[in-house]
């Protein structure tokens, strides 16, 4: 427990952990937005979430190799993955929308393996990165450092989150998406083309993940097998925040990022993920208990 001593004696490192956690959590939150959307609207749990992140990263890697500024590739990754999401919906996902949840998990799991292996064939197994050319901000006399690209990622996560919220609330298509989520059959009767709504939703999810992937390529590293990390984190965030609660996703993303940083600092990197899952179990148990109490009360 020497590491706790360090945090108590030099509290400034708490600040570092908080900031890092918050900024890392924002990128996880981006992947989680889309997952919540697809889950809520289509009742599909998309296991290929992380693969969209990975592919978005490759868009950035290759465009920046071709001379484009990496930051400008974020919208390109967004659009490219939107198209891919649309195609995948038309090819695969539309078959599983009304089916059992288990079937959609299997189908998207298959997709994730396919995308992984394709990426391995096309781009190779090497580790790739893109250089944003941004610098680092020093705080607290140089002890606390924040890479500017992480701030960009954080800002992008917030902006995209709010844009998504406004889109769902105000636009015609957004309203159609919400209507379909509430009751697909009623929406169909009222003249909403639910198939198109589903396609848009799935494509939008892929697009958001693509943007997240662009940021990942500039902040960390990209390789064909990184998907699972993001799928698992997104899944956790959605479970904790619930569906249709974008603000909740931002908060639980930040919470996840911060607790991961503290676990890594205090317990060591090998327990970072283990701690996270233990936390998930605790949250689920607590939630189950409180729901039980509520149900009793309602009776």
């Amino acid at each position: 427990m020497d590491n706790i001593q360090v945090l108590l004696q030099a509290p400034v490192f708490n600040l570092q952990l908080l900031i890092d956690g918050l900024l890392i959590g924002a990128i996880f939150a981006l992947a989680a937005y889309g997952m919540a959307l697809v889950w809520g609207v289509m009742n599909v749990i998309n296991i290929a979430q992380g693969e969209f992140v990975m592919l978005g990263g490759y868009v950035t890697v290759y465009l920046s190799l071709a001379g484009m500024h990496p930051l400008l590739t974020i919208p390109v990754a967004f659009v490219a993955l939107f198209v891919l999401g649309w195609v995948l919906y038309r090819g695969v996902i539309f078959r599983v929308v009304d089916k059992d949840l288990f079937i959609s998990i299997l189908a998207t799991f298959g997709l994730s393996i396919l995308l992984q292996q394709l990426a391995n064939e096309l781009f190779g197994a090497d580790v790739r990165t893109a250089e944003s050319g941004l610098d680092t901000v020093f705080l607290a006399g140089g002890t606390v450092t924040v890479a500017q690209i992480k701030l960009v990622a954080f800002a992008a996560a917030i902006v995209l989150g709010f844009a998504l919220m406004l889109f769902l609330k105000n636009s015609r298509l957004g309203q159609a998406i919400r209507a379909t989520a509430q009751n697909a059959r009623a929406a169909r009767i009222l003249g909403i083309d639910t198939d198109r709504v589903y396609a848009t939703t799935y494509a939008l999810n892929a697009a958001i993940c693509g943007a997240a992937g662009a940021l990942v390529a500039m902040t960390w590293i990209i390789h064909p097998y990184l998907g699972l990390t993001y799928t698992v984190r997104a899944f956790m965030i959605v479970i904790v925040a619930g569906l249709g609660n974008l603000l909740g996703i931002i908060f639980s993303g930040a919470g996840l990022g911060i607790s991961e940083q503290y676990a890594g600092f205090v317990l060591g990197a090998e327990f970072q993920t283990a701690f996270l899952f233990s936390l998930l179990v605790v949250i689920l148990v607590v939630r189950n208990l409180s729901l039980k109490r509520k149900r009793k009360y309602l009776k």
Binding site: N3, V6, A10, F13, Q16, L17, D20, I24, A125, D126, V127, T129, E131, T136, F138, G142, T143, T145, A147, I149, K150, V216, T219, W220, I221, H223, L226, L228, T229, E260, Q261, Y262, A263, G264, F265, G268, A269, E270, Q272, T273
Partner: protein, 419 residues
């Protein structure tokens, strides 16, 4: 019904394949250990699959050795000159296939001398086979130290085992401590190493040597295999200020280490890593990779020499001329494996596998790849790992000091001073 028909079909397929195989075997000359004036060496090599790049390096290394030996008149045994030739099959980068193919090399092709495959995993699969048939195998691409803990009698490796990858970094730190008027036992080390067999062997080596000097290990994190971020570990490094940070986790670990140490401006007097070349840290990260210290098996800047290739530099240029690329260490250690056989043949003056095996065990050879001398477990104890430091965007050899051509820059300038 369908199951039965498909069984019949596959049975028929097997018969046809078998017949074809027999026909092929009859058509080809049955390889023997030595036939006429040719000595046949056998190998399973990853021509396809995930190791295909390094598999090609291995094969090219073997081929260059054979070519050079034959150019120089071959191997002289009992007054007669023999040419070398390699019989190899594609193991598709899978262990099971590798073991199968070596069995075939020994049983059907009559091979009596085996060269190693690429990777520790395949070597692990093949060693029990060569052991069973009492056939000597010299390998240059299986670094797992577990390979040498099974009491194998016929396995010899010219390369340094995984636990040696970063021991030299600890020695270098001790050296620098003395130079700066400090005691080596005052030095503090932070270790961030991936949680897999190979990387944990690297860690074991570092910890053993740190203990030898009485250095304190202040951070000992095991990075998860799905590693995507090590900022928590690096924050700890900032807080505890060790004198040496060791990062190892294949190409992924090296890339992430360089990027995040630079992004978070972590000041540490020495950053030691593995797999810098496969992560291409100088090409991809430019200035951020400056001063990083990296482990390597070999480098053509070293002042090693032998009678076949001359200096390491000569080897490098000859290789580049033959194959059109600069030889990575995987190729060099493959070439060295063939040289060990040649030397053993000449000392044994025999092609009896048992006598050749005993001669290999007594090897004391200088090669362009470094000195070769095996301990009783079959690993090379004469050669040490090479450490590079990135200086002005280039890898400069800084250790072991007697073969090095550049001096280590220690401590590395702080990030605040670098701009």
């Amino acid at each position: 019904m369908e199951g039965i028909t498909s069984q019949i079909k596959s049975f028929r397929g097997a018969v046809i394949a078998g017949a074809l195989g027999l026909a092929l075997a009859a058509a080809q000359p049955a390889f023997a250990k030595v036939e006429g004036d040719t000595i046949y060496l056998g190998a399973a090599i990853s021509i396809t699959g995930k190791y295909s790049t390094n598999g090609k390096n291995t094969l090219d290394g073997y081929q260059l050795a054979v070519k050079r030996i034959n150019e120089m008149g071959g191997v002289k045994v009992n007054g007669k000159s023999y040419k070398l030739e390699i019989v190899y099959y594609d193991d598709e980068s899978t262990s099971a296939r590798g073991a199968q193919l070596v069995e075939r090399l020994i049983n059907q092709d009559g091979i009596k001398f085996v060269l190693g495959p690429y990777s520790s995993g395949l070597t692990k699969a093949i060693a029990p086979v060569t052991e069973k048939y009492k056939i000597p195998m010299v390998e240059g691409n299986g670094a797992d130290r577990g390979l040498f803990e099974n009491g194998y009698r016929y396995l010899f490796a010219v390369l340094n085992t995984s636990d040696y990858y970063l021991r030299e970094a600890v020695n270098l730190l001790a050296e620098q401590a003395k130079k700066h008027g400090k005691k080596p036992s005052d030095m503090r080390i932070a270790v961030a190493i991936e949680n897999d067999n190979f990387s944990q062997d690297v860690r074991a080596g570092v910890l053993e040597d740190a203990k030898k000097y009485g250095m304190k290990v202040v951070i000992d994190d095991k990075l998860p295999p799905e590693l995507n971020d090590m900022s928590a570990t690096l924050t700890k490094v900032k807080a505890l200020k060790p004198d040496l940070l060791v990062v190892s986790g294949h190409a992924k670990g090296a890339a992430l280490g360089v990027r995040q140490v630079a992004d978070q401006k972590v000041n540490v007097p020495m950053l030691a890593m593995t797999h810098c070349d496969s992560a291409q840290i100088t090409e991809k990260f430019g200035k951020a990779s400056e001063y990083a210290v990296c482990a390597s098996q070999w480098d053509d800047d070293l002042t090693y020499e032998d009678k076949w290739f001359g200096t390491a530099k000569n080897y490098g240029s000859r290789f580049a001329k033959e194959f059109g690329y600069v030889p990575p260490y995987q190729a060099a250690e493959s070439t060295a494996s063939v040289l060990v056989f040649v030397d053993a043949f000449q000392r044994a003056q025999s092609f009896d596998p048992e006598k050749v095996r005993d001669a290999i065990a007594k090897t004391n050879l200088k090669t362009f790849y470094g000195p070769v001398k095996f301990d009783e477990t079959g690993k090379n104890v004469a050669k040490s790992m090479v450490l590079y430091q990135v200086q002005d965007g280039e890898y400069k050899v800084v250790a072991p000091s007697q073969w090095a051509q550049s001096k280590l820059i220690y401590p590395t300038p702080t990030w605040q001073k670098r701009q």
